[in-house]
């Protein structure tokens, strides 16, 4: 009990973890900012009737879901600079995570869109809605309700996946904790970092519960 018995050392640990947590939060936020909308574009591409669009998009989803995120992170960090010049580590994380999570969200969105009964499209058609009106006003709003639960699963996974950024030495919270464990020989920093992840996911869970309740005003 090197840290928990010693308030001064504990404060120092918490300060450093909190600093690392800022980076963890930025990875979390940027990944969602990129992947939540990008996922919709990917989902629409995947559902396109044109093979020239749907086939490459399917392949993209296969690669993103079929290989380790850590490997994708290495690929972005080591190979992307050869194409576009040097990029900061953190940006490599944003790009790799954003592309990866977009693939998962895309499949969730696709499942949601396909679960809307055909009768909704038919009713929209006989009432004269255009295809884009049908999607934006009738299909999409109903899809949001249907995908909340699977999306919340992915978001919770993302909280924990941020620790993968350690692989390219981005100093987020997990790397900070690991370094302190190495230097002190105590595993306490790692477990305290674990509490941070747990608390963050408690907040995420509460947020999704709130959203789910907000959408409870109707059921199918």
């Amino acid at each position: 009990m090197q840290y928990l018995n010693d308030p001064e050392r504990l404060m120092k640990l918490l300060t450093q973890l909190t600093h690392g947590f800022g980076t963890t939060l930025s990875i979390f936020a940027m990944t969602l900012i990129i992947s939540l909308p990008l996922g919709m574009i990917v989902a629409l591409g995947r559902m396109s009737r044109h093979k020239l669009i749907s086939a490459p998009v399917s392949f993209y989803i296969l690669i993103m879901r079929g290989t380790p995120l850590m490997l994708q992170l290495f690929a972005v960090y080591f190979f992307l600079p050869r194409l576009i010049g040097p990029i900061p580590r953190l940006n490599a994380v944003y790009i790799a995570f954003g592309l990866n999570y977009a693939a998962y969200f895309a499949e969730i969105y696709r499942g949601g869109i396909m679960s809307i009964p055909p009768g909704q499209y038919e009713a929209a058609q006989v009432l004269g809605f255009t295809r884009s009106q049908t999607f934006m006003r009738i299909i999409l709003p109903q899809t949001v309700k249907r995908v909340l639960l699977p999306v919340s699963n992915e978001v919770i996974t993302l909280v924990k996946d941020t620790s993968l950024a350690t692989a390219i030495a981005v100093s987020e919270m997990f790397l900070t904790a690991k370094n302190m464990t190495s230097s002190s020989g105590s595993v306490e920093p790692l477990f305290i970092a674990g509490v941070f992840y747990l608390l963050m996911n408690a907040v995420v869970t509460a947020f999704f519960n709130f959203l789910t309740n907000r959408f409870n005003y109707y059921h199918d």
Partner: protein, 249 residues
């Protein structure tokens, strides 16, 4: 007002409509009856462009929805199709209300988004139609809070809100128990009295005889008999008699 001629339609090689011709005059109420699988719903869905025909011709008023060139159906351009289909209202067996909108929005948003009416104008129309179908106080409810019969009456009001020239019903009471069926049929009966042009696919033989100016009996993809209710009952078509016999049991 509406004319469909020589309609052919196949599903995966199976002929569902075999050279069917049907026309509806203004103010006329036509009921289409027949067994399940006789093609009656498919015919109605083809007329409303919910299914594509293989060949034949459909005109609404003076406008052509689809015609045939060398035995293949050629449809009007997309925008034209949309405008033409708006001349028809369609009521589904399963209502197909939009569950995420209130009853009032279900009636208003199609008016504002499609016909570009103002919200005020749309609401006025919607409220008038809702009280006409006996649901004047349910505008703020969501479809899930209504019974099947109420939902179907909202669906009828929703179709009427766009002022269609022809109102089409696809087995509007098949999903309802007898009591709820009655309240929906009452609404349709009132529309018939007002001389709305209607095309009704139904199982309700008694109702068809009562409201229809003309009954069309379909059997295995063709129109086997048609005429006024009296004519068709006296006509003695064998399949129709068998069908009626089954209904009585």
């Amino acid at each position: 007002m509406l004319s469909a001629s020589h309609i052919r339609k196949t599903f995966d090689g199976a002929e569902v409509l075999r050279d069917v011709s049907l026309s509806v005059k203004e103010g006329e109420v036509v009921a289409i009856i027949g067994r399940s699988g006789s093609g009656k719903s498919t015919l109605l869905r083809c007329i409303n462009h919910l299914e594509k025909i293989d060949s034949g011709e459909i005109t609404i008023g003076k406008d052509t929805l689809v015609s045939s060139v060398d035995g293949k159906a050629v449809y009007a351009p997309q925008d034209r199709l949309r405008a033409l289909c708006l001349k028809m209202g369609f009521v589904f067996q399963s209502y197909n209300l939009f569950p995420h909108w209130t009853v009032l929005d279900n009636l208003c948003i199609p008016q504002t988004a499609v016909l570009h009416r103002s919200r005020r104008e749309a609401e006025k129309k919607a409220l008038a139609l809702l009280s006409r179908v006996g649901l004047g106080d349910r505008g703020s409810a969501y479809p899930c809070q209504l019974s099947g019969g109420q939902q179907q009456r909202v669906a009828i009001a929703r179709a009427l809100a766009l002022d269609p020239e022809i109102l089409c019903f696809d087995e509007p009471t098949s999903a309802l128990d007898p009591e709820l069926t009655r309240e929906v049929l009452t609404v349709i009966r009132d529309l018939a009295k007002e001389k709305h042009t209607m095309l009704i696919v139904t199982h309700e033989m008694k109702f068809a005889r009562e409201v229809a100016d003309r009954i069309v009996f379909m059997h295995e993809g063709v129109i086997a008999a048609q005429g006024t209710p009296d004519e068709i009952m006296k006509g003695g078509n064998e399949q129709l008699l068998a069908f009626m016999g089954d209904l009585d049991q």
